[in-house]
Subunit: 225 residues, 2 copies
């Protein structure tokens, strides 16, 4: 099989969340194919780097971002997916706090921008399919793994968490029951700090406690919303 001529690339769907909006990080391609079109950041894997290293490198090169949470999503291998020839792409799925980093376009990217997932532009390659898979994964996973916290500030008022879940799940949540449930999971620390945004009673701040979460997980107690 020395005559195999398949190229391997990685792509990263990076989600951010801010004030009730879920957004994805996209780049405008500087070169052919699909020059000038929007695409998920990514690129070819170097011979000696791992797939994760490749994703982080490409992301940093093209967008300036450093990722918070990263997991493999799916590998897309349809022979026709890239006009240049056979390219198989391992797609990853990432989460960041958008305000924690400044996005800067460089190398293959002419521009970088956050897009609300409900207002997406036309995408290059099969990136629409990849993005769809990523959104489904995010929506599915948020109910049984505490990944939502990766999208919020370290310290957050309960209402932020609630708004994140209503946005992601696309349905209303009963505030009291939601809080009861999350508090019952016992993975949040209630801080002695309050935050006030505009009018209304100031909210207490909370913080996710990963240590406690992993302890509980080992004891077989599962996170589920």
């Amino acid at each position: 099989m020395s005559n195999q001529s398949i190229k391997l690339s990685v792509d990263a769907v990076v989600f951010g969340y801010e004030e009730g909006n879920i957004s994805v990080l996209l780049i405008k391609r500087k070169y052919e194919p699909f020059k000038g079109e929007w695409a998920i950041p990514g690129g070819f894997v170097f011979n000696e780097e791992s797939l994760e290293e490749a994703v982080e490198r490409e992301l940093h090169e093209e967008t300036g971002i450093k990722i918070n949470y990263l997991e493999q999503l799916y590998t897309f291998g349809k022979p026709s997916r890239d006009p240049r020839g056979r390219v198989v792409s391992v797609a990853y799925f990432g989460l960041v706090r958008p305000n924690a980093y400044k996005i800067v376009a460089s190398t293959d990217a002419e521009q970088v921008q956050w897009f609300n997932i409900n207002e997406l532009p036309k995408l290059a390659f099969d990136h629409k399919v990849i993005l769809k898979a990523a959104i489904e994964r995010l929506q599915g996973k948020i109910t049984y793994e505490p990944i939502g916290f990766e999208l919020l500030d370290k310290k957050f008022p309960f209402s932020d968490l609630e708004k994140l879940y209503t946005t992601l799940l696309g349905r209303d949540i009963d505030r009291r029951n939601f809080r009861k449930k999350i508090v019952g999971l016992n993975v949040l620390d209630e801080l002695d700090e309050k935050v006030s945004k505009g009018s209304g009673r100031p909210a207490n701040l909370f913080q996710f406690n990963p240590k406690r979460y992993f302890q509980l997980k080992e004891e077989g107690i599962i996170f589920e919303i």
Copy 2:
């Protein structure tokens, strides 16, 4: 990136189930590297075939089996995982009814054999890691997708289903509650046939109804055990 020299392969972890035993299909390698050692079936992807086609081809070539259920598991890309050089492997996860096919070794395989997942031999490459991931996926997935039926005969007594779940989940199940729950999901058809194996009251046969399952799924009713 024309100087990328990464090879792409696929591997398939195929599970079977018979009489309280979950087993995996392994081959004994005919050639170097790892000649004579047991491994998951798989091989290099051809330039023009999709990943799924590659898996099915390799499986058929090496073991004679045709798969019942196939899904992508994970892509393993550690630079050091293959002594021949950089090989990235897309691992798949398959289910079959073992008695439905005759396994026959050929091409790269000197031998094919079902191994109980609790009595595994030493494995070539990083196949131990792959297998572990596959087992976890199987155990996880069986509680929220009706994939268990792919491991049973088309028509099966309830006790078979129950035994499958106790085996996979590694814990006892209350027979009455389990039956109540599954029947309540409304995805099984009760047939007018009975089967008797040795002594004991003959059991009614059941059959999974995929059509009904997909209907219910679209209505938002979820399968969960």
